[in-house]
């Protein structure tokens, strides 16, 4: 039917009212390290689940790049097996998988082979032509870190990442550098090809629903922010505890340790979101500006007094006898790599001055727990006769990230009876009890966000460098004092010095 005057549409009105993310533009995702563990365990299952749930656009394509001898069919078969094994949605829908697999191809090449990038460029052109991806590209670096700079350099030289038709983005896995200098060098190398707005540094922790829930908990509930400051908060404890050891990651862990593996990224992310001011909105720069302000406000760490490191020896965890770190696979028998770190941080700003943040992370601790605990000050005076303020345990608000995501608040209540006696009770809330639905994997959220151009949940250059600055300071402080490792048995909450660190201030670690 002919229209009298055809209006110009500026937005997709069919999308109105759909509480679903926008659909990304058709794009090709080039995965470097396509035959590796991360691609099989996380990336391909995430892409399959995005396709299954209608989040991927028509024409979406994947080009796997690796130096493993595989035909295209073998690569697709390998990916299908990975999806069957690791996808959260089971059983795998053959038709949906086939629809995704139709857009999967493979280019075999060493990452430093200039000629290989020519073949990759030709493959991208084919995909653009045949599948309508219009030059939109995500380069996903799922490789060992030593290849990051080489791949970026070759992409630049081959002109594959050049601005032109379509958008180009690069995703970089952690670790992003291993100290401030290397992180800065890597940033510089990437910036020769990509602008900061094109760079997506993944810390999968931020893709977790429960980490995002901390922001919702703080900024969507009017009752917490007024007391979220030095006036009412005595101190904050942030724990990322693992009961497992290093599994088969000895080779990696020997070069990393707890400081680089967890403190520099996950713990710093949790400190930032627990301490940040409310952003004006939830866009990438507004949120990251506030997080960086927190990192900038961290008082220079007095390593001798405010940091404790540890390494586990043999012990018992969960009723199982486990070896010490030095007995683990691919670990040097005299290794001085730390598997535990506890740090006392001071944040020099109006909100948190004189309110310490105690952080700890470790392997082979008694239980697995990630949480932010806000311990409030006691009331200044109790009007109840014969009940001393000291008898009360303080109010503690705990935001649990894993396991059993949720929040709990410890409050005082009267014990029934004629005498005024108080007892502390816990009010627990499990997200699972109200939203007992399966959450998407962090990678699904992050891959989709990257394709949509939303970098809110990715680390920015200054954020990464600030965190490395803290790590460097701690490393420098440790350099002159060799540790006496192992100094805690597996299955305990770290070395005694960690207890002393907090007890000096008249406080105690929580048992998560």
């Amino acid at each position: 039917m002919a229209q009298a005057a055809t209006p110009t549409l500026t937005q997709n009105i069919l999308r109105d009212g759909l509480i679903l993310p926008r659909t990304p533009d058709p794009a090709a995702m080039v995965i470097f390290g396509a035959s590796g563990d991360l691609t099989a365990r996380k990336l391909m299952p995430a892409l399959y689940n995005l396709a299954l749930n209608r989040y991927l656009p028509s024409g979406f394509s994947v080009i796997g790049v690796a130096d493993t001898a595989l035909s295209e069919d073998e690569f697709r078969a390998h990916m299908e097996q990975a999806v069957q094994k690791f996808s959260r949605s089971q059983p795998v829908d053959r038709a949906v998988w086939q629809s995704l697999a139709d857009g999967i191809s493979y280019v075999r090449m060493p990452f430093d082979d200039a000629a290989g990038y020519g073949r990759l460029a030709a493959e991208l052109e084919r995909v653009d032509r045949e599948r309508g991806t219009n030059g939109n590209r995500v380069f996903y670096l799922a490789t060992a870190p030593q290849f990051f700079s080489i791949i970026i350099d070759r992409l630049g030289a081959a002109g594959i990442a050049k601005a032109g038709e379509g958008w180009k983005r690069v995703v970089i896995e952690k670790p992003f550098g291993n100290d401030l200098k290397s992180a800065q060098a890597l940033n510089q190398a990437i910036h020769t090809v990509f602008t900061e707005k094109q760079i997506y540094r993944i810390d999968h922790y931020l893709g977790k629903e429960t980490v995002q829930n901390v922001l919702v908990f703080r900024f969507a509930n009017g009752i917490f922010e007024p007391i979220w400051n030095r006036r009412y908060v005595d101190h904050v404890q942030i724990t990322v505890a693992e009961d497992i050891g290093i599994e088969r990651r000895g080779k990696y862990y020997e070069t990393s340790g707890a400081l680089r593996d967890i403190f520099q990224n996950h713990l710093m992310q949790l400190v930032s979101i627990a301490a940040m001011e409310a952003p004006p909105n939830f866009d990438a720069d507004s949120v990251r500006d506030e997080k960086v302000k927190v990192l900038k406000s961290i008082h220079p760490i007095d390593v001798a007094n405010d940091v404790v490191r540890g390494q586990y020896g043999p012990g018992w965890v969960g009723g199982q006898q486990v070896p010490g770190y030095r007995q683990e696979l691919n670990v040097a028998p005299t290794s001085n790599t730390e598997t535990f770190v506890a740090v006392r941080l001071k944040i020099d700003n109006w909100r948190w001055a004189d309110t310490p943040f105690y952080l700890r992370t470790g392997k082979r601790l008694p239980s697995r727990a990630s949480e932010i605990a806000i311990q409030f000050k006691n009331p200044p005076h109790l009007p109840f006769a014969k009940t001393a303020v000291e008898e009360l345990t303080p109010n503690v608000l705990v935001m649990r990230i894993q396991p059993h995501e949720g929040a709990s608040l410890k409050i005082a209540a009267k014990i029934p009876g004629p005498v005024m006696r108080l007892r502390t009770v816990n009010m627990d809330f499990f997200y699972g009890s109200s939203f007992m639905v399966e959450s998407p994997d962090a990678y699904e959220r992050l891959v989709l966000d990257c394709m949509l151009g939303d970098a809110t949940l990715f680390a920015r250059e200054d954020e990464v460098e600030r965190a490395w600055g803290l790590v460097d300071r701690i490393e420098a402080g440790w350099a002159s004092h060799p540790p006496a490792f192992p100094n805690y048995p597996a299955g305990t909450w770290g070395p005694p010095e960690a207890d002393a660190l907090i007890e000096r201030d008249g406080r105690r670690w929580r048992r998560p």
Binding site: P7, N12, I13, L14, D16, G17, P57, V425, F435, M436
Partner: protein
Amino acid sequence: MSQDHTELSARTFVDVHDIQEELDQVRWGLHQDGEGSEAAQHAAAEARASVCNLIAVVSNEPELGEVIHVLDRLSVTNPSRTLILLAQHTREADKLEAEVSAQERTESGHRVSTERVILHAHGEPARHLASLATPLLIPDLPVILWWPGRPQFDNPLFDDLCELADRLVVDTDEGFDDADLARLLEVARRTKAQASIGDLNWARLIAWRHVAAQFFDMPGMLARLAHIHGVSIFHGSDGQTAQARLLGGWIRSRMASVGIDVPLEFRPEDSLEHGVHRFLIYTGGNEGPARFSMSRLRGGRLSTQIRLGEQELAERTVRLESRATEELLGIELTLPGHDQLFEEALDAALR
């Protein structure tokens, strides 16, 4: 998911205060003397997550069983206080019975408990069940009224409960004809309407709407949408047309919002099973003719295709969820306020 389900208590009452008392008992895990064991109180404290009050109205015993089954499963994702009203306007003597029970579940390590009250009324009390329901609701939580089957629009109980509710949920796939759809629209548009309207059939159409919208998210395709000149909807010929009408009403109302009239073609086919099977959008204009098609495949899938002139673009296959009633209800429970789009789609479907 691992699941463990325990029926904590089930007793019958006729006095609203007795019912309230028993609800408190089962909710907080207290014993008869008002003192609870520490363990029981702790267990109760752990289980206190309620997201709404849910009132369901049924008209007979078999329907009651089905509704209990749905609500039991719904409680896993939406722990709520549930009131089930069985109103029988028979010539029997006035009679009112109430059964209070609590269920405790453990799902994947989380403990959830919910309370359920079944109010069974005959005769005059059946007309005044809203007055009994009101004091039994958990304060400050939204009240969802689920009316399975075709609502009794002329029953005063329907109006009373709509006044009490924040949201009325129906399923227009349960035999709603055009007159019923019109009555539903009338309810939604009452000047004093407190309750927003939800429709499980509308929730079933999310995937179709999502995929249709995605066509025009693609670069260059939005301009084609402005040149839409027709829509065809293929559906089963079992006489149940509400789903197809709603889908057509949706695209017609969306396009009407920018001043474009879309002719709708409904194609009932004997070979097709119940519901919408194929949805085709035709566009023209300077960009040339295009056809955007979505087809339901066996096994809960949707296949999408774009044809630009004679050129077929990349096909894709995605999931078309076949959601159980409790899942559809769960979607409805998370939607805030009036669903303007649904009301406009309903209106356009009837024009």
